[in-house]
Amino acid sequence: MKRISRYRRHKAAGPFLLLLALLAIGTTFSVASATTAAETTSADRSLQIEEGRQIFLKGCSSCHGLNAEGAQIAPSLIGVGAASVDFQVGTGRMPMADMSTQAMRKEPLYNAEETAALAAYVASLAPGPAIPGESELNFERDGSTAEGGELFRNNCAMCHNFAGQGGALSQGKYAPTLMGVEPRHIYEAMVTGPQSMPVFSDKTITPEEKLSIIKWIKSAEKEPNLGGASLGRVGPVTEGLLGWVLGLGILIGVAVWLAMKAR
């Protein structure tokens, strides 16, 4: 022990620790993703569910109730499915930091393994939408951008804006931006309808159609600015502001110079 603490103040200690931590996270993650990919035995699963229950009791039960039956301030989680947990916890929305208007996206509190355990626990309570696997999320192969665009404009643009930048809802709530959201989370949001968002059933928007929507969102996200700075892609408000400030602003500046007497 002494030997280690001797190196604690070493110049390289910080970077070294960071490296170690990264390695640890990487390993856990690869192990975690490997376990989801590989066939998990039923023993493993019940172990995972138990682990999830423990996390749940510590981090979630104060609001959602000891058996996830819901309470005054939080809904029941029975039947919401693993997809819902993966979305809410995986995007950091749950656990909620404060009980304000709406759960915001933030750094997730739980790592991938813990999230998977929580999801397994909630899924064990009652059947619900499952987390889509890698093969079900191959939007590049199964989706069509143009069709996705049409579906997006019909079903998503009214809240998330024409370019997926998000928009205002009533009473201070808002539809978040879709830029930079993982395809899995977009998919889960559509099937589970988190917070203000409604559910988009697999029968009205088929899984292939959902992938098309994801493909379109990813294409809009990747699309470089064809005509100059994007101004946030929120429509005429920022355009008008820039027209006045930069456009007329520069011109008035030149006009002042023009009318000034030369020395």
């Binding site: 024409f162 929120v234 429509g235 008008g240």
Partner: protein
């Protein structure tokens, strides 16, 4: 032959064929006063020229048709989507025509700057009193140009037939449809049947590229001819009177400056078009009535109208089997109608209040017309409040507010803030007048402290120059109108109530801090 000699022979050539020498000689030496605020109207004029040029470019490829086509162009995310030929051709201009996107963006930015310059120019004319006799007619032409500009801009916004355009047209249709008695007929005539139909875009295209530009050209010509004939107004100052114009001759100085400024305006518009994306129609997708985007807004010059419509209370009258939508008619037609009529009539209202029927060529400093300045500030506040509500959803998401809060804020604000702006501006003007008076009487504070023999510290004041003193005291301070309520024979005059109102307003209008006279200065010297 030198350049001068060559140009001289051109002048000779022209005169021998037109006899224009006398007229040209006089007008080439025409004097234009120089001030940056006089260039705002020029920005509008040049933007109009840019709009004509870039607009012509766009017409070469734009297909104003609502015929349904399947997109086969190079923008993949819309591949195979059904859309109107208008939208498809707007995409073609954006993606396949080299420089087409640049031109589209120049056209749109020029439109925004055009409207902004018109409004800024109007503010200059209003706050300096340049609309007074003999320029009332030109003020009205200006109001006409502003109105046309709003309509023309809206039509241009509607032409590409993308989702945002269509939403705008939908709202315009709802306004037409809301007109009592004739609404649904007018809507059916305008759209050639049920909304959206296949006729509206071809029709507004003709209006956008032919009828309104023609009207613009006629009005702009009249506007400029009047400026030319009546000579430009000038700011007050030493050597400047109601009887003269001080400035630079048209040829060559003003010509070079004005000509150069055209290129500046074009250059700045092109710069914006190069660096900032405007109306990325390909992201909006084609219009269909079942779709909508969050944050659907009009361009800024319509934004205040949209804000008014948003804040309107939900009132409709249902009676005798008919419906009247006050929630559309009042904010969409009646209030703008009152505003624009009031603006057009303002020169006459002011001269009625002041009883002033003389010509004015010297501009007012805004502080010296406190009532007018306050009224202007009040109107601008009204427009700003409604404009803010017009973008309430964008403001809400970007500043962590709620649209309901902003809506309620502006619903109250639209009644409270404009009168408040009036009072504050008027007080501000009067205190600026007071500061002017102090400055003329006691001079400029130098910041140097002087210790008097008996120990007191005083700040040294330095007298201001005679030029400055003249500038600060050259304005007129007319007493209020005296309107006796009874005539010479003791009989009450007709229209007593009107007279009372008039003299009340006249008294309020004449409120001022007395300007410094020579007598005041002499008195100070005695002390």
């Amino acid at each position: 032959m030198t350049v001068e000699a060559r140009l001289g022979s051109v002048a000779n050539y022209v005169d021998e064929r037109t006899g224009a020498a006398a007229w040209m000689k006089k007008n080439l030496q025409k004097v234009f006063p120089d001030h940056w605020s006089f260039l705002l109207g020029e920005v509008a004029l040049y933007s109009f020229v840019i709009l004509l040029l870039s607009g012509t470019f766009l017409t070469f490829w734009f297909d104003p048709s609502q015929r349904e086509v399947v997109y086969e162009g190079s923008y993949e995310p819309l591949e195979g989507i059904k859309m109107s030929a208008a939208y498809a051709s707007a995409l073609h201009i954006s993606f396949e025509v080299r420089g087409g996107l640049l031109m589209r963006q120049i056209h749109h930015w020029a439109a925004l700057i055009f409207m902004a310059a018109i409004v800024a120019h109007m503010m200059r004319v209003f706050f300096t009193g340049a609309f007074r006799k003999p320029r009332e007619g030109n003020w009205i032409i200006g109001i006409g140009l502003l109105t046309l500009g709003i309509v023309e801009g809206f039509l241009g916004y509607s032409l590409p037939d993308d989702l945002l355009s269509g939403t705008g047209i939908r709202i315009a249709e709802a306004i037409i449809q809301a007109l009592p008695v004739v609404g649904s007929y007018l809507a059916y005539f305008a759209f050639g049947g049920a909304f959206p139909g296949e006729s509206f875009i071809p029709r507004i295209y003709t209006v956008h590229v032919l009828l309104l530009p023609g009207a613009f050209l006629a009005l702009i010509t009249a506007h400029l001819m009047l400026v030319w004939y009546q000579k430009h107004t000038q700011y007050p100052g030493p050597g400047r009177t109601e009887k003269n114009v001080v400035g630079y001759p048209l040829m060559p100085t003003y010509m070079a400056k004005a000509g150069g400024f055209f290129f500046i305006v074009f250059g700045v518009t092109a710069f914006l078009a190069a660096v900032a994306s405007i109306n990325p129609i390909w992201l909006y997708g084609p219009y269909t009535p079942g779709q909508i985007s969050a944050g659907s807004q009009p361009d800024w010059y319509m934004g205040w109208l949209d804000g008014l419509v948003r804040m309107a209370p939900p009132i409709e009258t249902h009676a005798f089997g008919h419906t009247i939508s006050w929630n559309i008619l009042v904010p969409g037609l009646i209030i703008p109608g009152i505003l624009f009529t009031g603006m057009a009539l303002y020169p006459f209202i002011e001269s009625w209040i002041t009883g002033d029927k003389r010509e004015h060529h010297l501009l007012d400093r805004p502080r010296n017309a406190p009532n007018r300045t306050a009224l202007g500030a009040m109107s601008l506040t009204f427009v700003m409040v409604t404009l803010i509500n017009g973008g309430n959803d964008i403001i809400a998401t970007h500043f962590d507010l709620s649209i309901n809060q902003i809506m309620w804020g502006t619903r109250f604000g639209v009644f409270i803030l404009p009168p408040l702006a009036f009072v504050i501006t008027k007080r501000l003007c009067l205190s600026l007048q007071r500061a002017d008076r102090e400055l003329v009487l006691h001079g400029r504070e130098t910041g140097t402290l002087l210790r008097l023999p008996h120990g007191e510290f005083v700040e040294v004041h330095e007298p201001i120059s005679p030029e400055k003193a003249f500038l600060l005291t050259s304005h007129e301070q007319a007493p209020p109108l005296e309107l006796p309520e009874v005539d010479g024979r003791g009989v009450k005059r007709a229209g007593a109530l009107r007279n009372k109102l008039r003299s009340r307003m006249s008294v309020a209008n004449a409120e001022a801090i007395p300007k410094v006279s020579v007598n005041d200065l002499k008195e100070i010297e005695h002390h």
